[in-house]
Amino acid sequence: MFSDSEIVSQVLEGKVNSFESLMSRYKDLVLKIVKKHVPYSEVEEMAQEAFIRAFQSLSGFKNSGDFKQWLSSITVRTCYDYWRKAYRNKEVSMSELTEKHQKWLEEVISDQPEMPSSSVDAQKEATELLDWALGKLSAEDRLVLELIYLEGLSGKEASDLLGWSIANVKVRAFRSRNKLRKLLKGTIKR
């Protein structure tokens, strides 16, 4: 069984079919990242885009490096570019919140020990509320918020994936958290 670096070398030597081994090996990883960051309808296309980008910049991969990390970074940046384009073209759906979402939020912040997330309906409302709130943020804030607060990555890990400085990631993370808090605060009934 060849290592990632050996397969990369084979592809660079012209054996393009060898790239399929890398795809089989990392398909799940790429799809897992993409599924969380882009809408359902765009998952297949963005995952394809990530692999194409990886293929095109294969000569930039340093053989001493970690291919998994390198590919993850390309995938996250592909998702980021998707949102930048979507926001620029105003393609981000801005569905309005209903009473159900407000009620869900109030139940979450109430002192009840049992969270309302157990039912399917509550799960749906949580997903819709999350999508609504993320849709109100910029592409940068959205990605940082997802990576830091929802996935629990460190500033260093997020900066490696996004290719930004740690300071930039930390500042963005702080600001995006405040923005989310303000947004949620605004949805609670007066």
Binding site: G14, Y40, E44, Q56, V108, Q123
Partner: protein, 109 residues
């Protein structure tokens, strides 16, 4: 407007995180990998395309400090030559300072 304290906000984030991870359960079509591979095989060889790009990138970044030094030197030379020569050149022909002022008025400088 009700406010959300830190504990409540942490609780919301925790609940939204569960919803966030639910997105992972989406399935993709079985033929997806074959389609992507087909697309890749139909593309130009990557190593040539990327190779040129890499070479270009390396070259550009290596030349950046030299470019900055050249821009600085050129700017300095232009500043010295242009401003100095116009005024000094005219002054060497016109000895009277009143004439120099008149000349400046007509030349628009």
């Amino acid at each position: 407007m009700k406010s959300i304290n830190e504990n409540q906000f942490t609780k919301i984030i925790k609940t939204l995180t569960t919803a966030y991870y639910e997105k992972e359960k989406v399935e993709v079509g079985e033929m997806w990998q074959t389609r992507v591979m087909g697309h890749i095989l139909s593309m130009d060889p990557c190593y040539t395309k990327a190779g040129y790009f890499e070479l270009f990138q390396q070259f550009v970044w290596k030349l950046t400090p030299v470019a900055f030094v050249l821009i600085g030197l050129l700017g300095l030379a232009l500043f010295k030559m242009d401003f100095y020569s116009d005024y000094e050149f005219t002054k060497s022909f016109v000895s009277n300072s009143a004439d120099l002022v008149t000349l400046a008025m007509y030349s628009g400088s």
